[in-house]
Symmetry: C2
Subunit: 421 residues, 2 copies
């Protein structure tokens, strides 16, 4: 199996002062990965000639594909094109196709075309042009000593269009590439090390062309199998076979057997069961509602909720009794139980989830320190409440509480729906 | 003025397959920038020994500070520590402090401690330990031939804690750094180019050691003045003087004259005026409530809200009339007005904000296409509603709506409070 390695070079001072989070590289890496090209390295450099030249030289030593983004704009600090001319020992010419594109864009925008903009159609004389349908800077394709260099604009929307419409098809045409197959599952409620212990034998017995990766994020761990081979059909079958072996080993913690988010898994479950949910949030302050409603089509499963931050809102909107609050406090089993019962009654949903806790940094006490949380889930007949403790900062305590609430809600729905059949 | 250059090396296959967007590098770059260290390069490599070794060798050629993140987890693919041992020619030892930390964390979580976790306390024998208060993997500080190497866990929350509490103070102590002074202001409701036009003369007349940066994010633009010099007192005075010139030029769009978030500016305003706010969210689905409650001490200004996703929730919880919904639809001036009036009445806050719109990708019509939004702000006497249109994807439409709502709320509070005096 011939390996094709790639390097991504991103150019721009904004990447080095932390002004911009580089989302381009992840997109490019995903696209290359899908067609069997392995990204060996990513490098970010400033708008500095020598830095760019060095990066080009270094990366071409062991990579057959080099993708360069950024530095193609019309302002003085955009120096990628002259640097490419120097690197490839070429002159600059006006490309007629690119010029027509620039003119067409300015006509459409009804803006005056100034000299600065016409320069966007200038390109080194030894490259192929990749037409940019979404902007004025064309993509450029160079070949030198068995290495392919592709220069793309840094504007994500333009870069994406060029990758999908030009770069990927052209790379597939030019190179002989292996097949790459991924299968991913999502687990929750178990740490990375415990998980690793549980599937140690499985991992050790994987064939060398199938790799297992642990991808942890905020209390969840994704497990991903990746197979690479020249034989597409065979590797698909093999990865599928290993995935089937892996699933029962982690079934206890498995949230989904696909590469989805937790809120996606919960939403899909409710959708499949044709059930709705409501939220009553104190300490999570609307974050659970936000996670659920971030997904398209969430109105099919989400009816609404109350953010009952102040105690009087818990009383007036959710019917929590004043005596309950007085006797047990807002962060208690009794209060969170009345909250979840209140919201399911008021909103008339099939299921509900409620949270009440102390997220910090203020508001803790010896009895109820910062990080103490009560979470309740319910259907119209029953409630289940549990106490949790998170030891992070405010933002992360909120995230962990929301996540735990969604895991509990999912389990609760699964149990109740199983009981109904 | 002596320049200190840094390089950031991020380690992990997940960065090279595009699974993870690297937000760590931007944070690290920002923090280093603040203390006068220039990030010259960023490199991402896989969990591959030779790749990591080469990166360390290459980056130490022209950088005095090298920050390494990732690859410190307890699983087999985390190889940073053995590679560092090889690079620094050291052996591995158990660090007692790190071991106590691992044990304390597992005790607190009430989880069984397995051999694999204990390995988290193993470190190369020639490094200083940077205690990780948020996780099991300690930070490590090495010095070799005038270069400082710092290895941090890749979990953003842990990396941030280590950067702020250990790395930055220690770097300031160890290195002679130029004085760097920043002054930042936040604008909203104006694009980057328009803003650049409005302050063109100001920008052209800045002295060479004071730079102006445009930091755009989601419809807001931060303007940051940065002065660098060996003379702390002088540069502070100069930057302050320029900042005073800049402010009146952008006063129309200025939200705050400090480096704060929009929700921070709104919360501080309400706190100063001793007023409370309530939210009634349809299309933003709890996101405005989440933004407000993410800040510590938010209970002083936020009473609560309703996420009225389904129309029946708008009716039952907020008292929106069935006829209003039927005649004008959920996304209308009439509905959003009744929503904001309903929530201020039910929750008894001084101010309220309400949103109703179509975030997409589904649910649009010719009359009300995806991106159409109504936003209303109110106090107990008056309501003001406005129609907006956003042309992004679902997630960004939600963010833009929440942001616009907070800008409107801030203006409304300022107007009303001015009228009261």
């Amino acid at each position: 199996m011939k390996e094709v390695n790639a390097s991504i070079i991103t150019i721009g001072d904004e990447l080095l002062i932390g002004q911009t989070i580089d989302t381009n590289s992840a997109f490019i890496a995903q696209e290359l990965n899908k067609i069997g090209i392995w990204v060996k390295r990513r490098v970010a450099v400033g708008d500095v000639k020598d830095e760019i030249l060095t990066a080009l030289k270094e990366q071409s030593k062991d990579c057959q594909v080099i993708i360069i983004t950024g530095g193609l704009g019309p302002t003085a600090d955009d120096i990628t094109k002259p640097v490419l001319c120097e690197y490839f020992n070429s002159g600059m010419i006006i490309n007629e196709e690119a010029l027509q594109n620039v003119k067409a864009i300015f006509t459409k925008l009804n803006r005056p075309l100034i000299q600065r903009n016409l320069k966007q159609a200038e390109v080194p004389d030894n490259c192929f042009i990749l037409p940019n349908l979404r902007g004025t800077a064309p993509g450029m394709w160079f070949e030198k000593e068995e290495v392919i260099y592709i220069s793309l604009p840094g504007v994500p929307h333009e870069m994406k269009g060029l990758m999908q419409h030009s770069v990927i098809p052209k790379l597939k045409e030019k190179l002989i590439l292996p097949a790459v197959v991924h299968r991913t599952l999502l687990t929750g409620g178990i740490g990375e090390s415990m998980l690793a212990d549980a599937i140690q034998d499985f991992e050790n017995n994987l064939p060398p062309h199938i790799k297992l990766a642990y991808l942890p994020s905020y209390g969840l761990v994704r497990l991903r199998l990746t197979g690479r081979s020249d034989n597409t059909e065979l590797v698909e079958k093999e990865v599928e076979g290993q995935f089937k072996k892996l699933k029962p080993l982690v079934i206890e913690w498995m949230i989904a057997d696909a590469d989805v988010s937790l809120e996606e898994a919960v939403s899909e479950l409710l959708k499949a069961k044709k059930k709705t949910v409501a939220t009553a949030e104190s300490c999570t302050g609307g974050y659970i509602a936000h996670l659920i409603t971030s997904r398209r089509g969430s109105s099919a499963i989400y009816k609404g909720g109350v953010v009952s931050y102040a105690n009087e809102v818990k009383e007036n909107m959710l019917g929590v009794r004043a005596e309950t609050l007085q006797q047990f406090g807002a962060v208690s089993e009794q209060t969170v139980t009345e909250m979840v019962q209140g919201v399911i009654r008021e909103i008339d949903a099939d299921y509900a989830v409620a949270t009440s806790g102390i997220m910090g940094p203020d508001g803790g006490s010896t009895e109820k320190p910062v990080g103490t949380v009560w979470i309740a889930v319910a259907n119209k007949e029953k409630v289940k409440a549990g106490k949790y403790f998170f030891r992070f900062d405010r933002r992360r305590n909120i995230e962990m509480t929301a996540q735990t609430a969604l895991i509990l809600l999912r389990r609760w729905v699964l149990e109740q729906e199983a009981g109904n059949h």
